[in-house]
């Protein structure tokens, strides 16, 4: 195991993390995975700590996953869902943050529809902030659980070919995966219609292709993004059936790919839109394992940021370390 120390009170994205830090999270998650297999699926590591799930954007899966993770660490969990419309008129983001801080919470798990919101937030509070998705920017724990699943199934990340298919332009999952995977030595290819690859994409360490068969040919895994045709309204979007024809993950396409290609999806699934039911439920699919692993990864993240914050505070209060 790596000897890197984790010193960040927040997890805002994977772009800023070093390879060693990502490996530390993955290694920690591995030990936490065992906890969920016990009869008593609970350890007291975060006993007495309060985790606030602050969601400015509806999301059941991510919120529930964080809630389960926090509870398995014995933390108390408070869920706050904020209607974005009311935020605009009422309380500012910073006010919301300082109010939660005044409740003496310890960790805020935050989902927001504006890119960078978690970062702005973290600058204004001394709570730990875990980014559970900000706009199109990053969704670090999703990428970490994707990578964890890949590593568990294929034994390594270094040298793997991973293809990400879908709306790359508007995907925080894609961005976090590209950073994480490339830092660990995987080769990432993104595949989408031209209009869904954003300008200046060269900034990312990833190949671009518009041909799915080509992208699948060498892939060890394919991560299928959820397509949201209702999004935006202004930018050009492909027609739904045409998208499925050209970019849908179907049995025929998987049959032509590597035999053991892993099929991943961050959920919720749009069956028949970006992935066929046969593939989603088929033997190459690890979609449900991703959900299970999400808990271990989020436990690891919650544990690490809470530790880092506690230690920072202890040092600030000049508590002398003792062995």
């Amino acid at each position: 195991m790596t000897n890197t120390a984790w010193t960040r009170k927040d997890l805002l994205g994977l772009e800023d993390l070093s390879r060693e830090e990502i490996e530390l999270i993955l290694a920690t998650a591995e030990t936490f995975k065992e906890v969920s297999t016990r009869e008593i699926k609970k350890v007291p590591a975060l006993r007495g700590k309060t985790v606030v799930n602050l969601f400015f954007e509806p999301s059941t899966r991510t919120r529930v996953s964080f809630e389960v993770a926090a509870k398995r660490l014995s933390a108390d969990v408070i869920n706050i869902a904020v209607e974005t419309s009311s935020v605009k008129k009422g309380e500012t983001l910073i006010d919301t943050g300082t109010n939660i801080q005044a409740l003496k919470a310890d960790i805020i798990v935050m989902r927001h529809n504006c890119s960078g919101a978690a970062q702005v937030f973290a600058q204004h509070v001394d709570l730990s902030v875990v980014n559970a998705g900000d706009g199109w920017h990053e969704h670090p724990t999703q990428a970490l659980l994707d990578i964890f699943t890949l590593k568990e199934k294929l034994g390594k990340i270094e040298g793997l070919n991973v293809t990400i298919v879908g709306d790359i332009a508007h995907s925080r999952v894609a961005r976090s995966n590209i950073w994480g995977l490339s830092k660990l030595g995987a080769k990432v290819t993104v595949c989408a219609p031209k209009m869904l690859i954003p300008a200046g994409f060269e900034v990312f360490p990833a190949q671009v292709t518009h041909n799915l068969d080509e992208a699948l040919a060498k892939a060890d895994a394919v991560n299928v993004l959820r397509m949201q045709f209702e999004r935006d309204g202004q930018t050009a979007f492909p027609e739904q059936m045409e998208y499925f024809r050209n970019f849908g993950i179907t049995e025929e396409r998987i049959a032509k790919a590597k035999k053991n290609i892993l099929v991943m999806h961050p959920g919720p699934l749009n069956r028949g839109i970006e992935i066929s039911s046969e593939v989603a439920d088929g033997q190459n699919s690890v979609i449900l394992e991703q959900v299970t692993n999400g808990i271990a990864v989020r436990m690891a993240v919650l544990f690490l940021v809470a530790q880092a914050r506690d230690r920072k505070n202890a040092i600030a209060n000049k508590k002398r370390p003792r062995n």
């Binding site: 199109w136 920017h137 200046g200 990312f204």
Partner: protein
């Protein structure tokens, strides 16, 4: 009252002066500029080692009054101007009410008369309520004292309407200032479209939204034989289009703002909302093109686009923050630091961009130090360094892109109509 400024390096591009001279001010006007003017019972400023320039004419300033006095007022804005060596500002029309009728102008003129600390010129709107639907009465507004017209903040989308505005402006002898932006292309964008917006997951503003509108406005102006001034040029293509048009004899002038020759889109990393402005900070290549444009003369003037916003409007999610940075207090120092110190412009060239050219474009009698001119003067220590500190800013709003930045050049004295209105650190 007589005031004698001794032994300063007098830079006045209008008279091609650049030498150590004395300046005698008598009763709000410059009485004499020559060597060794004898002191005849006047107050004396020793300007040895300092630079004496005409007071800066900043032709792009949002004073926010009337309507948004929480952001800035004529008083606070003009005090900030004096600190930056600025003695004349052109106040933009996007106030509330907008400057679209003589009655609104009268309100502003009253405020100016009561509280302005430097010369304030008024830019009226092109269309009523700046909505792009109905032209204002240009002749009447000119008569009421407007020196330019602009819907700044938005462009006039309707071609026919815009052409008509240029034609009428020409008849009235008033300048049209173009905010060049095609909202159909830029709508919803919050920063330059490109590598950084993609990395940060922010919606981009394509450069086309600016330069296509620059192109259109110049073409329409040419068709109507009128002239236009392009505000806040930020990208390379705009510079190229203006250069081409000028070469072909089009009557077009252009300005840029200090942030466009100093910063790039990279500054947005970290979601710093003080780096959010419209047009947005562009790429290094654009910045270079702006610098070249200043050097070659394609860009005639530097104006701050001073755009104050309250903490509430800036300390929010990047998507929701207002566009703009304040600039009156940092403009000259940025010119010195980024252009003169880096040997891009000489001092006389810099003074042209800040003082003489804006005066010529606006057809106002400012920006020069010749004998008989209004005694609007800034005395500058070019080598003194300072750090932009939020607490020391005079402007009512503190949304500066340059907080924490070390700059060269401080204003020692600002003299407006013969009076010392600012002496380093102290307003009078």
């Amino acid at each position: 009252m007589r005031l004698l400024i001794k032994n300063g390096r007098v830079i006045d591009p209008a008279s091609k002066t650049d030498e150590i001279l004395d300046v005698l001010i008598d009763n709000s006007r410059i009485a004499n500029i020559s060597k060794d003017i004898k002191n005849g019972s006047s107050q004396i400023i020793d300007a040895t080692g300092k630079i004496i320039i005409p007071g800066i004419v900043d032709m792009h300033v949002h004073l926010r009054e009337p309507g948004r006095e929480d952001k800035e007022t004529v008083l606070t804005g003009t005090l900030a101007a004096l600190k930056g060596g600025v003695t004349s500002v052109l106040a933009m029309a996007n106030t509330n009410p907008a400057m679209d009728c003589p009655e609104s102008l009268d309100i502003l003129k009253q405020i100016i008369k009561k509280s302005a600390k430097c010369n304030v010129y008024i830019c009226a709107a092109i269309t009523k309520k700046r909505q792009g639907r109905e032209l204002v009465n240009i002749a009447r507004l000119k008569k009421s004292g407007a020196v330019a017209l602009s819907d700044d903040g938005v462009s006039v989308d309707e071609k026919v309407l815009f052409s008509k505005a240029v034609k009428k402006a020409k008849q009235s002898g008033i300048l049209i200032i173009c905010h060049c932006e095609d909202l159909r292309l830029s709508g919803g964008g919050v920063m330059n479209l490109g590598a950084v917006s993609t990395r940060l997951g922010l919606k981009g503003i394509p450069r086309e939204s600016e330069y296509k509108r620059v192109e259109r406005d110049i073409i329409l102006a040419k068709e109507t034989l009128g002239s236009v001034h392009i505000a806040h040029v930020s990208c390379k293509e705009s510079v190229d289009i203006i250069a081409q048009a000028k070469k072909k004899g089009a009557k077009v002038t252009a300005e840029t703002a200090p942030h466009y020759f100093t910063l790039t889109e990279e500054a947005v990393s970290g979601y710093n909302t003080n780096m959010k402005m419209n047009p947005p900070l562009r790429t290094q290549a654009d910045r270079q093109a702006i610098i070249e444009g200043l050097k070659s003369g394609v860009i005639d003037a530097i104006a701050s686009d001073h755009a104050p916003h309250t903490v509430n409007e800036k300390d929010v999610e990047f998507d929701r923050a207002e566009f703009g940075t304040i600039g009156l207090e940092t403009s000259l120092s940025l010119g010195i630091t980024e252009l003169v110190d880096k040997n891009i412009l000489t001092w006389p060239e810099l003074v042209k961009k800040f003082c003489l050219n804006p005066s010529k474009i606006l057809k106002i009698d400012k920006g020069t130090l010749r004998a008989g001119a209004d005694a609007d003067i800034a005395i500058v220590s070019a080598d003194k360094e300072w750090t932009v500190d939020k607490k020391a800013l005079i402007s009512k709003s503190k949304n500066s892109s340059f907080l924490g930045r070390k700059l060269k050049g401080i204003v020692e004295y600002t003299i407006c109509r013969g009076e010392i209105v600012y002496k380093y650190g102290i307003h009078r």
